[in-house]
């Protein structure tokens, strides 16, 4: 498993890939900080500079600069909006919607994925369903969800769809990626079906499952904010973004986007499981 976006640059406690060292050597150690921290700081600085520059060149309130967004952020966090909701209430609304859909998705997807990875005919049976349903963006189901489920189940359904597939598919591939050698080793040590499943398949697939859970949560988060914007209602960050857009508070829209981004990052990082190391 490689470091991917959204995953800390140096979380593994392992040596960084060799090709990085050359570049890292070029970065001076500033204030005794590790060079990666310096690069991240520089990247952040460049981001804000580019943002500020673009905002200044365009000079259009539809793209507010960092300073305006900063003060809108303070406003969002300290004052209720014109509907009377505080930011905390918006966040809780969105989060509580996610919890149900995501937990439900994980509760179905993990056992089903384990079973499908273990029982070949089941995988073949499910494949057409999964292959056909998966490419449909969860948001395409919104009209259906609103009519057939209604608030708040519509949101739960959308989150379920968004997080189900990454969890299911990663669990499935996790089971299939367990090294046959480890299964052989376990069998020569006297392991039978149940023991093999709980002690080899399950922990062997764990890395993939946790990746699936992390991806699923990311998708859930994206889908709930978009679903709230597109019509699933009742208070939430998507509602905040949408109403602020409607009244032309683009500084607040960007402040909301910052909050959505930061929370999404914290959420996916929050799910940290121990990582399975690759076998020799």
């Amino acid at each position: 498993m490689k470091a991917t976006w959204g995953i800390p640059l140096r979380s593994e406690g392992e040596a960084a890939p060799a090709r990085r060292t050359g570049i890292r050597r070029l970065v001076p150690r500033i204030l005794g900080l590790p060079s990666d921290v310096v690069i991240v700081l520089a990247s952040t600085l460049v981001f804000f500079l580019l943002w500020q520059l673009t905002a200044r060149i365009l000079d259009n309130p539809y793209l507010p600069g960092p300073a305006q967004v900063g003060s809108a952020l303070v406003e969002a966090l300290t004052r209720p909006d014109f509907i009377g909701f505080t930011m905390g209430e918006h966040i809780l609304s969105s989060l509580s919607r996610i919890v149900y859909g995501y937990v439900l998705a994980a509760a179905v997807a993990i056992p089903l994925g384990l079973l499908a990875g273990w029982v070949r005919p089941l995988e073949t049976f499910l494949a057409p369903w999964v292959e056909m349903t998966r490419p449909i963006p969860p948001l395409a189901w919104i009209p259906f969800a609103i009519v057939f489920f209604g608030t708040p189940l519509d949101a739960v359904f959308i989150v379920f769809l968004a997080s189900f597939f990454p969890v299911f598919l990663n669990t499935l591939s996790g089971v299939k990626s367990v090294e046959p050698l480890l299964l052989d080793a376990a069998r020569t040590l006297g392991a039978r079906k149940t023991f093999l499943f709980t002690r080899v398949i399950l922990p062997g697939a764990f890395g993939h499952i946790s990746t699936g859970l992390r991806l699923g949560l990311g998708y859930a988060w994206m889908s709930i904010v978009a679903a709230e914007i597109l019509g699933v209602k009742g208070g939430g960050l998507g509602i905040y973004l949408w109403t602020m857009h409607e009244v032309g508070r683009f500084d607040s829209v960007f402040a909301g986007m910052v909050i959505v981004g930061v929370l999404g990052l914290l959420l996916t990082r929050g799910i940290s499981f121990w990582r399975v190391q690759e076998t020799t």
Binding site: N60, P61, Y62, E75, R79, P80, D81, F82, I83, G84, F85, I146, G150, T151, G231, K233, G234, G235, T243, E246, V247, G248, R249, F250
Partner: protein
């Protein structure tokens, strides 16, 4: 179809150009300039725009033709609410637009959309319609109420209503949707009520889907509703075109006022036909709806008061932070109203 009628085909434009070229030109009209007009979806308040395009209403040639104006629906028009129309102003899609005063004020102050108000369209003309089970304002708590948009006057009226009745707006779920969708959602129970422009309030009442809990006259007597706004860049480069557009608008408004004062007349019936086609509602619905709307185009002293009141209330409701006034270069609400209302075009009108 309404859209077909409002979007002149190429042939129609060519014929128009031919007529314009052959007919004795009214006033001193040089090359006719096409005006891209923004307006709202099936909003009866915007019937002057339809009337001004109608040959019969103009007595053979439409008011726009008479004043040498070629109109064209702006990109994306008709819009689901005034906030969206302001976005299209910002995008440069709209030259002149009809929309509610609150979105015109809100998005000018919040997002610096470069518009000015140059005429009035109508007063009143919205209502809070509720479904079965809602009898008092308090019954709305915990329920869902639809409005066309959060920058729209209908949301403003709902906020005002809630304030007057001592309701916490946070306990009412406000959703937005185009008014033509609202009756169905009310009937299905998905929403408990809605605030919409006419004829959608009258439509739901006549169709038996709901009853009026408050008309806009109940909430704010004789309140200003829609205005004509102009893109400031267009206004400064084409002042004569703007003036001619307003001439047609004033003429159409006058024609509507006259028609409505003579029920049963040919013009009255023709107005109902035009309105029914524009909104896709039966004539009895639009006839009932007209009773709730006052059409007037003038920018009088009360108009300025209304704009100031809107600005004050929008700031009070939190839709516009007070610092946005200074950010846009206005020292006060009075200063803003003076600058944002531009009566110069209406004052300079010539007769056809």
């Amino acid at each position: 179809m309404t859209r077909g009628r409002l979007r002149p085909s190429l042939e129609f434009v060519l014929v128009l150009l031919l007529i314009a070229a052959c007919a004795p030109a009214p006033a001193a009209s040089p090359e006719p300039v096409t005006v891209r007009v923004g307006y709202l979806l099936a909003d009866l308040h915007h019937i002057p725009y339809v009337v001004a395009q109608d040959a019969q209403a103009g007595g053979g040639t439409s008011f726009f033709e008479q004043y040498g104006v070629i109109v064209q629906d702006a990109g994306g028009a008709p819009y689901p609410n005034g906030g969206v129309e302001m976005d299209h102003f910002a995008a440069g899609d709209v030259d002149v637009g009809l929309l509610g005063a609150p979105p015109a004020i809100t998005k000018h102050l919040n997002a610096a959309v470069n518009t000015r108000i140059i005429a009035q369209v109508n007063a009143l003309g919205s209502a809070l319609v509720v479904g079965p089970g809602i009898e008092t304002p308090q019954d709305l708590l915990g329920k869902t109420v639809a409005v066309p948009g959060h920058a729209a006057i209908q949301f403003f009226l709902l906020l005002t209503f809630a304030q007057e009745k001592g309701l916490d707006i946070g306990e009412i779920t406000v959703v937005d949707m185009p008014p033509p969708d609202m009756r169905v959602k009310l009937e299905s129970g998905e929403i408990a009520g809605f605030v919409a422009w006419e004829p959608w309030a009258a439509d739901a009442v006549i169709g038996g889907a709901g009853t009026v809990l408050a008309t806009s006259a109940d909430i704010w007597p004789d309140h200003l509703d829609c205005v004509v706004a102009v893109d400031q860049t267009f206004a400064s480069s084409q002042p004569d075109t703007v003036r001619r557009f307003l001439q047609a608008h004033v003429a159409a408004t006058q024609w509507i006022q006259d028609a409505l004062s003579q029920p049963g007349s040919d013009n009255y019936n023709h107005l109902l036909e035009l309105s029914a086609e524009f909104t896709q509602r039966p004539t009895e619905v639009v006839e009932a709806a007209f009773a709730n709307i006052t059409f007037r185009s003038a920018l009088d002293a009360e108009f300025g008061d209304s704009i100031r009141s809107y600005a004050v209330k929008l700031i009070e409701f939190g839709l516009i932070p007070p610092e946005k006034l200074t950010e846009r270069g206005y020292s006060s609400v009075e200063d803003f109203a003076d600058a944002y209302i531009d009566p110069s075009f209406l004052e300079g009108l010539a007769t056809p």
